[in-house]
């Protein structure tokens, strides 16, 4: 019982700092992010070597993935879909790797509220930046009173509420999964963690990635499109 309590407290607490060469201390989420960055850069370089006109199997597989992601962005955003694909794809890959790294026994960086808050802030800049850029300043500001002027306070509040909900959704899901997996591993370390980990780590992490990217895409498309018939 004592062990369970200590596991619970430890898993909720803020992730501790790691000291580099004893000189300065860096949050552990940043160190794991460095690892994820190195991994993504490495597989990007390795998988895109020797691209040919007549594609090999590996190239066809990659092209299928990119093609389906292109189609997703095009059908949701509409006209100016092209510039958003690299950013959304990279953020999706980063969040996916961060969520799934829990299987390897490493604390997922998205368990740290700072990481999800940073991602949500970036999404907010993207959404409102693209709204101002593609509609011009005056038309973009007029969009806040768009369907009915009565909704103006709600639209203004949504500037803060949408990124907050994105941040809290990702943080809460990953924190809850991590805590439950820690407690299961503490109580029944034998075979039970395996099927539970398939649901909590793999499935939940993937779904949260898809939801984050899809919601950002949806908000961007809502911001760009005007409600003219």
């Amino acid at each position: 019982m004592e062990k369970l309590n200590s596991v619970l407290e430890e898993s909720i607490g803020v992730t501790p700092d790691v000291s580099i060469f004893g000189l300065f201390s860096v949050p552990k989420s940043v160190v794991v992010t460095w690892g994820v960055m190195a991994f993504l850069v490495l597989i990007s370089i390795l998988l895109t070597r020797n691209l040919k006109r007549i594609p090999s199997k590996r190239q066809m597989f990659l092209e299928t993935i990119i093609g389906s992601f292109d189609k997703f962005c095009k059908s949701n955003i509409g006209e100016h879909w092209r510039p958003y694909v690299p950013w959304l794809g990279t953020v999706g890959l980063y969040i996916l790797c961060c969520n799934l790294i829990g299987i390897l026994g490493i604390v997922p960086p998205t368990k740290d509220l700072n990481v999800t808050a940073a991602l949500a802030l970036l999404s907010m800049l993207l959404i409102y930046g693209s709204q101002m850029r593609y509609l011009g300043l005056s038309r973009g500001l007029k969009k806040f009173v768009e369907p009915i002027p009565f909704l103006l306070p709600l639209n203004i509040m949504e500037i803060a509420i949408r990124p907050l909900s994105l941040c809290m959704r990702l943080f809460g899901n990953i924190l809850a999964s991590f805590m439950i997996m820690e407690m299961i591993k503490c109580l029944m370390p034998a075979i039970v963690p395996v099927p539970c980990s398939i649901y909590f780590d793999l499935f939940d992490g993937t779904i949260q990635t898809i939801v984050f990217v899809f919601l950002t895409t949806l908000f961007v498309s809502e911001g760009i499109h005007t409600h003219e018939a």
Binding site: E9, G172, N173, A176, I207, V211
Partner: protein, 71 residues
């Protein structure tokens, strides 16, 4: 001790999420039964709707954690 009671009340938000997702899944099953070839789109709509509805339950969990672990 009151922190524990408060945290318990905060987690009751899970009830709304459970009922909502249950109703949505029922309707999705009906729709798939009516038109099996659209099952891909129906499944993806269901999963996205469920993830968004679950977020409100997660807010309750986060509030409960904040209540327990701050003095």
């Amino acid at each position: 001790m009151f922190a524990a009671i408060g945290a318990g009340i905060a987690v009751i938000t899970g009830v709304g999420a459970g009922i909502g997702i249950g109703i949505a899944t029922g309707k999705a099953s009906e729709a798939i039964a009516r038109q099996p070839e659209a099952s891909g789109k129906i499944t993806s709509a269901l999963l996205i709707g469920a993830a968004m509805a679950e977020a409100t339950a997660i807010y309750g969990l986060v509030v409960a954690l904040v209540i327990i672990f701050t003095k």
